[in-house]
């Protein structure tokens, strides 16, 4: 007589269930222990002790209190007086440097556009040799893959730091840093799109004796362009955010002003710049989403 008949079907099921439950419990206990060890280590290393946090939190609220503008309703829409001075408590007073901010935001957007265009161009060229199915040979594939990996591996702001040192403070350093990073990130995405492209048009062009460049230009590009455009627009949104903070290391744009007002003053100017940055990012996102949907929609219905 074997165990199975002695226990019966129900008994066997219960036994198996108990075994599974026990093994799951041990696994959960191990995971919990590992988690607690990580937590304890993290708290110790970053000195994230309750009393430090308790000291810090009131200061955070205090700080946010100082950056709120002291607006007064009676004079809120008051313009400048004849001698060009703004009335305290009005929006004009709060946004005294409004036109400086606008110029910098304009610069930020230009930085993002230029960096996206340059990054897209580089990514476009490299995405064909970096696609496993299209690369002319394996070492070109390997080199372009590694190159793209390095480009996107280094954080933009570190690149910007180096370029600021090399070519001086100003937007050019930021543009180059963001362009390099975009090339790496987009190149990977583009290469993946290329790998999913149908091989038939390429085979057709091979059959009539096309060169590698012709195969790419007439066999692959028409299939992948809609995806490329949509990825590039998405990247543009990311780049607008990046160029608004890259000024922290002196690489131009509104970030430079943001860094200045946060580091040197703790008054309503901080909030003034922050509001403009958030507005800019939101507007660009909306605009780019419109463009993207419009473009994809047109492609689908054509």
């Amino acid at each position: 007589m074997s165990d199975q008949t002695a226990l019966g079907a129900v008994g066997l099921f219960e036994k198996h269930r108990a075994e599974l439950k026990a093994s799951k419990r041990t696994m959960n206990l191990i995971m919990l222990a590992a988690f607690l060890v990580c937590l304890a280590l993290s708290v110790y290393i970053s000195q994230f002790y309750p009393e430090r946090l308790a000291n810090g939190i009131p200061r955070i609220f205090e700080y946010f209190g100082t950056i709120i503008p002291n607006l007064q309703w009676e004079v809120l829409f008051e313009g400048r007086t004849e001698d060009g001075r703004a009335v305290a408590g009005s929006i004009t007073y709060w946004y005294t440097d409004f036109w400086t901010y606008v110029t910098l935001i304009w610069e930020t957007i230009l930085m993002a556009i230029t960096a996206t265009l340059i990054g897209t161009a580089v990514a476009f060229v490299l995405s064909f040799p970096a696609a496993a199915n299209l690369a002319p040979n394996s070492w070109i594939y390997w080199i372009s893959r590694r190159f793209l990996e390095i480009c996107r591996g280094i954080p933009e702001i570190l690149l910007a730091l180096v370029f600021v040192f090399m070519i001086g403070i100003g937007p050019l350093a930021g543009v180059i840093a963001i362009a390099i990073h975009s090339a790496g990130a987009l190149g990977k995405l583009f290469a993946e799109v290329n790998e999913n492209a149908s091989a038939r048009p390429v085979e057709g062009i091979t059959a009539v004796g096309g060169t590698w460049v012709q195969k790419m230009a007439y066999g692959v590009v028409p299939q992948v362009t809609p995806n490329f455009v949509s990825y590039a627009l998405l990247r543009f949104e990311v780049n607008v955010r990046a160029s608004s903070i890259i000024g922290f290391v002196g690489a131009g744009g509104i970030g430079q002003e943001l860094n200045r007002v946060i580091s040197f003053y703790s008054d309503d100017r901080v909030l003034a710049v922050l509001i403009l940055v958030v507005l800019m990012v939101t507007l660009i996102d909306l605009l780019s989403e419109r463009l993207r949907l419009g473009y994809i929609g047109r492609e689908n219905f054509a």
Binding site: S46, Y63, L110, T114, I157, F165, I245, S263
Partner: protein
């Protein structure tokens, strides 16, 4: 019947085809539409490069050469204070871990508040969502800078910056996961006469937990990456060591630290991919 070659097609036939299939042939308008965008893009790039003063890029000075040399030639490697560097890396990981953990815990609460099928009172939901939009709209690095001003230099500011920006993003993702659950499972559990807490445990949790876990693990990965640069604004971690040594003109050490950071990032990428497949695979079995 023979196949027509190009030379065999007479001018009259071409004209007839032009007549019957006007869409196939280029017209000036079409050509302008096709090439116009390219011209605009190229003109814009050239103009903007001039605007950004590209000429400066080619004025290589001795500084640049010294910098490039220092990235490759490493000197006095015995005096590099490795303990400091690896402590910074450990601090970066700790910041990412704590920030993600706090963000996850916060998002567990806020995510439910922002879900349409949980909070039916629209004004409260909208208020929570707009608040989350603001948290997300401000970059993590800006939060870092703000918290450095508020609580001082060090990892505490970094943890808070990661926490706040994660709270914004994770809550949104969580609330979407909660909104997308299958009602049938919840109703099924309810129909067996389960208590509310049991409905959540057996109706909601099995559906949302895999999404929550995989999102949080993904954020742990991306936060490790962003925590390396939070130090540039003084919010602790390896970034602070990079910027200190950069300011002290110790470029060879900067290159070494950056190399370590790159290795760390690639290792985290690899590890997180493994953990994610393991966690999600285990859930599906």
């Amino acid at each position: 019947m023979t196949l027509a070659t190009v030379s065999a097609v007479s001018d009259a036939e071409i004209a007839a085809i032009r007549e019957s299939h006007p869409g196939v042939f280029d017209t000036p308008g079409k050509l302008i539409k096709r090439w116009g965008l390219w011209v605009v893009a190229i003109v814009y790039v050239l103009w903007s490069l001039w605007f950004f003063d590209i000429a400066r890029f080619f004025e290589t000075s001795d500084r640049v050469l010294a910098l490039l040399r220092a990235f490759v030639v490493w000197e006095d490697m015995a005096t590099w204070q490795y303990a400091n560097i690896y402590r910074g890396i450990a601090e970066t990981l700790a910041m990412a871990f704590l920030g993600t953990l706090l963000g996850t815990l916060g998002a567990l609460v806020v995510g439910f508040l922002a879900a349409r099928n949980i909070v039916t009172f629209a004004p409260l939901r909208q208020l929570v969502r707009r608040f989350l939009d603001i948290l997300r709209g401000i970059d993590q690095l800006v939060w870092g800078l703000v918290f450095v001003r508020a609580v001082g230099l060090g990892p505490l500011a970094g943890v808070l910056a990661i926490f706040v920006s994660d709270l914004g993003t994770l809550s949104k993702l969580y609330s979407e996961a909660i909104e997308n659950i299958d009602r049938k499972q919840v109703e099924g559990v309810k129909s067996t006469g389960a208590r509310p807490i049991q409905v959540i445990r057996y109706g909601y949790l099995p559906q949302i937990l895999p999404v929550f876990i995989s999102q949080s693990l993904y954020f742990l990965e991306s936060n490790t990456r962003s925590a390396t640069i939070l130090g540039i604004v003084g919010a602790g971690g390896i970034g602070m060591i990079i910027i200190e040594r950069f300011r002290a003109s110790l470029y060879d050490q900067v290159a070494f630290v950056v190399l370590n950071v790159l290795i760390l990032i690639f290792a985290i990428d690899w590890l997180s991919k493994r953990v994610r497949t393991w966690a999600i695979g285990a859930q599906q079995d």
